[in-house]
């Protein structure tokens, strides 16, 4: 099955590789505007299942807006398909229920709730029962992936350091058991060592089979992890290309 069936701009891959994989995310003609300001303008790209795709480009050019439009956080024009199903406009819950979860820029945690509570709310997209959430595999996995958080789990999220907060945010994303995890600027404001740890975690998440989409300002760092890339300039997204590091 050719990936180009998803749209005009496909990734360039060998036929053999393309054969077995589904399209996780297909974006066609995506436009996002805030009032009169057009942030993203006719973006078209696809992400295959199992890929780690980086969205790169200078700041303020629309990278975050692409993710916001795709996940439904802001209203958009154009088509978005998650595993072949068309996503309704502006419905974040739908996207979460169908496998796409966003870890937003600047974390957006709940500062007065504990780290555990922040993480367990990631389960809200698939259950209302706190018991089920606690016992679920996704919650357990989310906690286990960050052993350095264990002593801080009962602490209010607002009192954690930047790096710890980023981990809580990723854990919250994982708790919703996503097939695609979209991470917006994971290393914003973090020191180098912490940023490397975050990327290590993202790498292991990727190895366990989750498709990744990472918005990253520093392309070199993103490409240590990602095997595909969408370059955004002036709100226009170039086709996803298989990029060598």
């Amino acid at each position: 099955m050719s990936e180009d069936g998803a749209g005009p701009a496909g990734s360039h891959r060998t036929e053999a590789q393309a054969g077995a994989r589904k399209t996780a995310l297909a974006v066609r003609g995506l436009s996002v505007s805030y009032g009169n300001v057009v942030a993203v303008h006719d973006a078209t790209f696809t992400v295959a299942e199992g890929d780690a795709c980086a969205i790169t480009g200078p700041n303020g050019n629309g990278k975050s807006s692409i993710l916001m439009g795709v996940t439904g956080m802001v209203r958009r024009k154009g088509g978005v398909e998650i595993f072949g199903r068309p996503a309704p406009n502006g419905d974040v819950g739908w996207a979460a229920r169908h496998g796409l979860t966003l870890v937003p820029e600047r974390r957006q945690l709940y500062p007065e709730l504990s780290a555990t509570d922040n993480i367990i709310l990631g389960c809200y997209s698939w259950t209302r029962s706190i018991g089920k959430a606690r016992r679920s595999a996704s919650f357990g996995r989310a906690i286990d992936l960050f052993p350095e958080l264990k002593p801080h789990l009962k602490q209010a999220a607002g009192t954690l350091s930047g790096g710890q907060q980023q981990m809580v945010a990723i854990a919250r994303g994982l708790a919703s058991d996503p097939k695609i995890l979209a991470v917006d600027e994971p290393c914003l404001g973090l020191a180098e060592a912490v940023a490397r740890r975050v990327y290590d975690v993202l790498a292991s998440i990727h190895e366990q089979g989750t498709t990744l989409i990472v918005v990253e300002e520093a392309p070199k760092r993103a490409l240590t992890l990602c095997n595909a890339r969408v370059e955004v300039r002036n709100g226009v997204a170039g086709a996803a290309v298989a990029g060598a590091a």
Binding site: V103, P104, Q108, E112, Y124, R172
Partner: protein, 294 residues
């Protein structure tokens, strides 16, 4: 013992203010709107039950149930029609006008309807637990007052359990902590907006039913209760239900003390003057931002 009795009376009304203040505070966190109509729902509860039971002859439990159901339906309808138009459409309204004036108008609307239906006299729901006031040493506690305290503790306790031990409760907290973060997790803020609004209306009506035998209500009584509950929430900066609760108790006790020791006639005047002075001398401490644009 005068002080003791004043304290008890103050605690009774204070617990009502406290519950209302928590309702206002929680709802503000979720919707960014201040509910200035809380007391009016209480008034409707009291006068509605009185009307159905005394005038229309319904049995008391039916009267109570009917009143509460009607209040719930009305609150739901208000959210669906008015608040949805104001906040959920493409032309989303924001700013201090929305925060205040919608429920300001609602409050007077409810008062007007009450006047239409129930007239202008003083009424009260029938006492749910009739009998002599309970006494111990020289302290008196009206039975209705005990009921009020019991309701406050039960409702407050139930809410606390909800917040701490259920996912839905944590989601509600999340809405108030970070609206963007809540959306990320798929939490629907709008749903909580009407849920809490309806819950507030019904809780207020319950308290009106339980407390009215002590004081008696007219169609205008709701306004002052709304204001006091609102003020108590203000003392929590509107965003901290815990502080709002304490503030509600404090105002209730202060009101009783001023009425008892300073002057029964000018009691309210002095109370409001003190409350206003507190807001003016200590706005940051009470949690107000120094400027609100809109």
């Amino acid at each position: 013992m005068k002080f003791g009795n004043l304290l008890i009376a103050g605690l009774v009304t204070g617990s009502i203010y406290a519950v209302f203040a928590v309702c206002v505070s929680v709802w503000y966190r979720v919707s960014n709107i201040l509910n200035l109509a809380v007391g009016d729902f209480a008034m409707v509860g009291a006068l509605g039950v009185d009307n159905l039971y005394r005038v229309k002859g319904m049995p008391l439990p039916a009267a109570i149930a009917t009143t509460l159901v009607v209040v719930a339906i009305f609150a739901f309808a208000y959210d669906r029609v008015v608040l949805r138009l104001a906040q959920d459409g493409p032309r989303r309204m924001e700013g201090i006008v929305v925060t205040f004036f919608f429920t300001f108008a609602l409050s007077f609307f409810i008062d007007g309807v009450a006047k239409m239906l129930f007239g202008t006299d003083v009424h009260a729901a029938p006492a749910l637990w009739s009998g002599q006031a309970l006494t111990w040493a020289s302290l008196h506690l009206e039975r209705a007052g005990l009921l009020v305290l019991a309701c406050a503790i039960m409702i407050g306790g139930a809410f606390w359990l909800y917040i701490r031990y259920t996912l839905g409760g944590k989601a509600l907290e999340a809405c108030g902590e970070n609206a963007i973060g809540a959306r990320i997790a798929g939490i629907d803020t709008r749903r909580y907006r009407w849920l809490i609004f309806v819950a507030t209306a019904v809780i207020a009506a319950i308290f009106g039913i339980v407390e009215s035998p002590i004081t008696g209500y007219t169609y205008l009584s709701g306004a002052t209760i709304s204001l006091t509950g609102f003020l108590a929430a203000a003392y929590g900066g509107f965003r901290k239900p815990g502080r709002a609760l304490v503030a509600g108790l404090f105002i209730g006790i202060l009101e009783a003390m001023i009425g008892g020791y300073v002057s029964a006639q000018y009691g309210d005047t002095v109370l409001y003057a003190i409350l206003a002075a507190l807001v003016l001398t200590w706005p940051r401490g009470l949690g107000f931002e120094s400027a609100v644009s809109g």
